[in-house]
Amino acid sequence: MAIMALPAFLQGSTELSVTGPKVVTSFRIFGLTINLTETVLLEWIVMAVIIGLSIFLTRGLKVKAVSKRQVIAEMAVEAITNLVSDTMGKRWLAFTPYIATVFCFSIFGSLISLLGFRAVTSDFSVLLTWALMTFILITATKIRFGGVGGYLKGFAEPIPVMLPINILSEIATPTAMALRHFGNIAGGSIIMGLIYFGLTGLSHMLHLQVPVLTIGIPAVLSLYFDLFSDFMQAFIFIMLTMVFISNAGPADDEATSAA
């Protein structure tokens, strides 16, 4: 809207819009409209970065005389393995790569906003997908250890009257997880957008052609709303996933006595 002589990138944030991801293309399969959105493209970039980093870090691994790259790779793997081992217990270590996947995807997907892209995690569909995956894993674990009958019976415990509440809580688990992550990242991005917009307006009120106030001040706030919040949400998401899945199985001593 602002018509000025300055190039667009020097005009600052002159409009505030809260929108979802762009639809790049869409096609119809079996009468369903399948959208390929901006989010998915960004996911591909994030995946390429993560996979590229993995391949780079694990190039030329050695038992002795390790390189700095290898130290980083080993530390990362050991850190996430220890986290899973401490949170879920040793018998759940097979979940480590999945937990690492969600953690990396969440972190990099949120931090991509620092490069000026939409955060992958500010799209509710993405978080819903991950939360549904957690839900599937929880249910699969319950059925694995209790059988289908045991799983269904679990809804009527401790008393049959609890059935609706149990169903509700079952649905609430993934919903809450997805909403929490989405709300924090999307809310953060809105707040940062507001701050840029507000500071641009303030600069113009002070008759500054270039919105100088938007230099520096948002960076400090971005430390919380982008960096800290991104790490926090990724961590919370994987912690909840681990706790819910390991709680779905029997306690440690039962499992070891059964085995």
Binding site: T19, K22, V40, S54, V77, A100, C104, F105, L128, T129
Partner: protein, 166 residues
């Protein structure tokens, strides 16, 4: 075209799920498998080194025990050798001393006997000389020849009565 800010999109869910699975398998294959392989190899190497060290320690301890035992035995043997040598030497010296003493006693006895014999010979010589002399003296005094055999008895009696030669 843009989706709503808070929207649930089937396409995004499908693609996100596929992407999640792809990333899962990629991380498993490119990061976890190689790193875990290296970690377990290193663990195996460490275990092997520890086992080797333990073996070496056991061997060293066994060798030390063996050497201590051997040393003790050698000391015992040398002490025994010393004792037996001392005993033998003592015995030998005792034998030598005893031999020397016996020899000395033998020589002394021999000399004593020789002396005794000499003395007796001198005594009997003296006795015969005295009897002859007495017969001569008596011949001179009596003036006649005295039968020596008759008078030998008399002279012997005389000598006996005078006393033994000291």
């Amino acid at each position: 075209m843009k989706l709503g800010f808070f929207s649930i999109d089937l396409g995004t869910i499908l693609f996100s799920w596929i992407n999640l699975m792809i990333l899962f398998f990629a991380l498993k294959h490119f990061l976890f498998k190689p790193v875990q392989k290296i970690l377990s190899e290193r663990q195996a190497a460490v275990d092997r080194t520890l086992q080797d060290a333990e073996d070496a320690r056991t061997r060293a301890e066994a060798a030390e025990t063996e050497y201590t035992e051997k040393l003790a035995k050698a000391k015992e043997e040398s002490a025994e050798m010393l004792r037996s040598a001392t005993r033998k030497a003592q015995q030998r010296s005792d034998e030598i001393v005893a031999g020397a003493k016996a020899e000395a006693a033998g020589i002394l006895q021999q000399n004593r006997e020789e002396l005794e014999r000499e003395k007796r010979r001198a005594e009997s010589q003296l006795r015969s000389d005295v009897s002859e002399l007495a017969v001569l003296v008596a011949e001179k005094v009596v003036g006649r020849e005295i039968n020596q055999n008759d008078h030998a008895r008399l002279i012997d009696e005389f000598i006996d009565s005078v006393g033994d030669v000291q």
